[in-house]
């Protein structure tokens, strides 16, 4: 039984006087307990909106969320907002992209960690702060006793992200959602944070939904990967399979665009032509068709369904990249 079962999740942004925007369009995926699942795609493909919809953190006005988000058999979308607050932070933790703006500038770090323990574990302020100290220590923040009284602006970017991780994992949630946790950090710190995340997740058995545009992150961390394009899942596969044999031309293009060390200098990096704005609506065929190298007549006209592949994945493509015939 999956821990998280997202079924046919759609998010439509609707503002008065503008055309509704379908940011997430019937996304389904599951996360097993302890599993790490990647949501990958370029900016605007709906990956962050998906995570916010799961957490019930989208603004209350101006959008419509449909589908089901079953967490441990409970449909989170059906909960009253105040009841959902009991789940957030306790059963599902979340890490955000920009650690500086995600921490409150006027509250000492200790309290920002401790308050989640006070809320969900009924700790007193004193006990919660003591536990917060240990948490900061566990995520590798040096001199945690002093840090308790410090403010976010006094910490480095890497330490802030560590603090956010400490907050998200404080109550030992069963699921952690990380929304581009390394995007705002420089490369060496990125590696440290990813290693830390991997250790913590492995040790605690927490399931992880990793949202990223960085295929390197996926390669190092995820068991299963969902590739999103224009609000829909276009390919789902186990990590090794995805990297070895991408079937969707979009996934293929993404992998080709990663700079490699074993290619001659000066050789032009592959790029996917066009931009997201060239998309056609999914109802008129494959949204990716105008940018696709393998486009054929069948790609346009009808909605392309997401079909299971015999290797346990799924694919939404009429003319996929051919598989190599095993020798």
């Amino acid at each position: 039984m999956p821990l998280l079962d997202v079924r046919d999740l759609s998010v439509v942004f609707q503002r008065k006087g503008t055309r509704p925007v379908r940011a997430v369009d019937g996304v389904s995926f599951t996360v097993e307990p302890g599993q790490t699942v990647g949501l990958v795609g370029e900016s605007g493909c709906g990956k962050s909106v998906t995570s916010l919809a799961i957490m019930g953190l989208l603004p209350r006005r101006g959008n419509k969320v449909t589908g089901e988000v079953r967490f441990d058999e409970t449909d989170l979308l059906k909960l009253r907002p105040q009841d959902l607050r009991d789940w957030r932070g306790r059963d599902i933790g979340m890490i955000f992209q920009d650690p500086l703006s995600s921490l409150n500038p006027v509250i000492p770090l200790g309290l920002q960690v401790a308050e989640v323990l006070e809320r969900h574990q009924g700790r007193t302020r004193k006990a919660a702060l003591k536990q917060a100290r240990d948490l900061l220590d566990a995520v590798g923040i040096p001199d945690p006793d002093r840090r308790l009284d410090e403010f976010p602006h006094q910490l480095s970017g890497g330490m802030r992200q560590r603090a956010l991780i400490a907050i998200a994992l404080a109550c030992k949630p069963r699921l952690l959602i990380a929304d581009e946790p390394t995007t705002a950090l420089d490369v060496t710190i990125q590696a440290q944070i990813l290693t830390l995340l991997k250790e913590l997740v492995d040790d605690s058995g927490t399931a992880l939904v990793m949202i990223t545009h960085d295929l390197g992150v996926v390669a190092g961390l995820c068991d299963t990967v969902n590739v999103l394009y224009a609000g829909k899942v276009v390919e789902r596969a186990y990590r090794h399979q995805l990297f070895a044999e991408p079937r969707h031309p979009y996934t293929h293009g993404l992998l080709q665009s990663v700079p490699r060390l074993d290619v001659d200098r000066g050789e032009r990096l592959h790029q996917i032509r066009g931009s997201v704005s060239d998309n056609i609506p999914w109802s008129e065929g494959c949204a990716f068709a105008p940018r696709c190298d393998r486009v054929i007549d069948d790609c346009i006209g009808e909605t392309v369904p997401l079909e299971p592949t015999f290797r346990g994945g799924a694919l939404r493509c009429t003319n996929p990249v051919p598989q190599e015939v095993p020798a």
């Binding site: 957490m55 009991d86 703006s101 921490l103 006027v106 989640v116 809320r119």
Partner: protein
């Protein structure tokens, strides 16, 4: 912290010197003067000359200026031309009245403004919010003297809800301790005097509070809306914190920063507003003193001292505002 304060005090001295100079020459460049004002149009040249010499206005202006500066530095502001009393005494009598009025107005403006602005933000786009926007627009636009007479007419003439003028009922025997009548009554346990003074205070304070109140509501509303959009509020939501905790701990404190700034800036407007309000309600504070000193007699010494006092109050309030930033926002704290 001490370094900041001392640096600001030096700035204060420089500002005051510049202002004193400006005011000194500006007052004397106005047509007419104390001699004309005191003696009237039909005075003989002899009396005019006599008085001019007696007041020291026959000396070259830079000599007058030098003397004036010297006196100011030693704390001697001279005597009022109008009454002959020392300026410090005249102002000392009027100052508590204005402070009492201004403090009452600020309490109303903050006490109502911050909660109303907050509520408007929470009910953004709904009836309460729209009503607030309209009411604050009226509040900012309506002239003080007009609102003052309007309130006075409604609430003291037709229905006698409030007393029409003055700080305390005549015949009420109150002991003067601090010059703040409401406070005095509490200190001496003359509660009837305290209540009476408070009753007199209501209309003037409300009149004076309207503009700062409207501005504080608007600023609070905008500021709360800004903060609600911040990433750290989303983090607080992701922690599953209850709404009241998020509001009190995460929203309010961040939203108050711009409000504090505005409160500092509004002190200036409050001092200006006090002149009009005091005139309407015959309050007998600095506002009344300043109008009397200009129109009646061109009372140079009193006017100069008043303007200096206003400047000092304004600068000190803004210093307090700056220091309170440090309390609210750790990022501006000086290590």
């Amino acid at each position: 912290m001490l370094r900041v304060i001392s640096r600001r005090l030096v700035q204060l001295a420089v500002t005051l010197l510049a202002l004193t100079t400006l005011v000194f020459f500006w007052l004397r460049s106005l047509p007419g003067g104390p001699v004309d004002a005191l003696l009237g149009e039909r005075a003989t040249p002899q009396t005019r000359e006599l008085l001019t010499r007696a007041l020291g206005y026959d000396q070259p202006i830079w000599v007058q200026y030098g003397k004036f500066l010297q006196n100011v530095v030693t704390g001697n502001f001279g005597n009022s031309i109008r009454t002959g009393e020392p300026v410090t005494e005249v102002i000392g009598r009027a100052f508590p009245a204005t402070v009492e009025l201004a403090v009452a107005a600020i309490i109303i403006a903050i006490g109502l403004g911050v909660p109303l602005g907050y509520l408007a933000a929470r009910h953004r786009g709904r009836v309460l919010d729209n009503a607030t926007i309209i009411v604050t627009l009226v509040g900012i636009s309506i002239p003080i003297f007009f609102l003052g007479y309007l309130l006075k007419d409604w609430l003291t003439q037709g229905v006698h809800v409030f007393p029409p003028s003055g700080r305390i009922s005549t015949g009420l025997d109150n002991t003067d301790v601090t010059g703040f009548f409401v406070l005095d009554g509490l200190l001496t346990r003359e509660l009837d005097a305290s209540a009476d003074a408070l009753w007199h205070l209501v209309l003037p304070a409300v009149t004076l509070a309207t503009i700062p109140l409207a501005i504080i509501i608007r600023i609070t509303r905008a500021s709360v809306l800004d903060v609600l959009d911040e990433d750290y509020i989303r983090t607080a939501d992701a922690k599953g914190l209850r709404s009241p905790t998020i509001r009190k701990r995460h929203v309010l404190r961040n939203a108050l920063l711009p409000v504090v700034t505005i409160i500092g800036l509004q002190t200036g407007a409050l001092l200006a507003g006090a002149v009009l309000t005091e005139k309407v309600y015959n309050w007998g504070g600095l506002g009344t003193l300043i109008t009397d000193s200009i129109s009646g007699s061109r009372d140079y010494p009193v006017l100069q001292a008043l303007i200096l006092l206003a400047a000092v109050v304004f600068i000190v309030v803004n210093l307090v505002v700056d220091l309170s930033y440090a309390v609210i926002d750790p990022r501006v704290r000086v290590r």
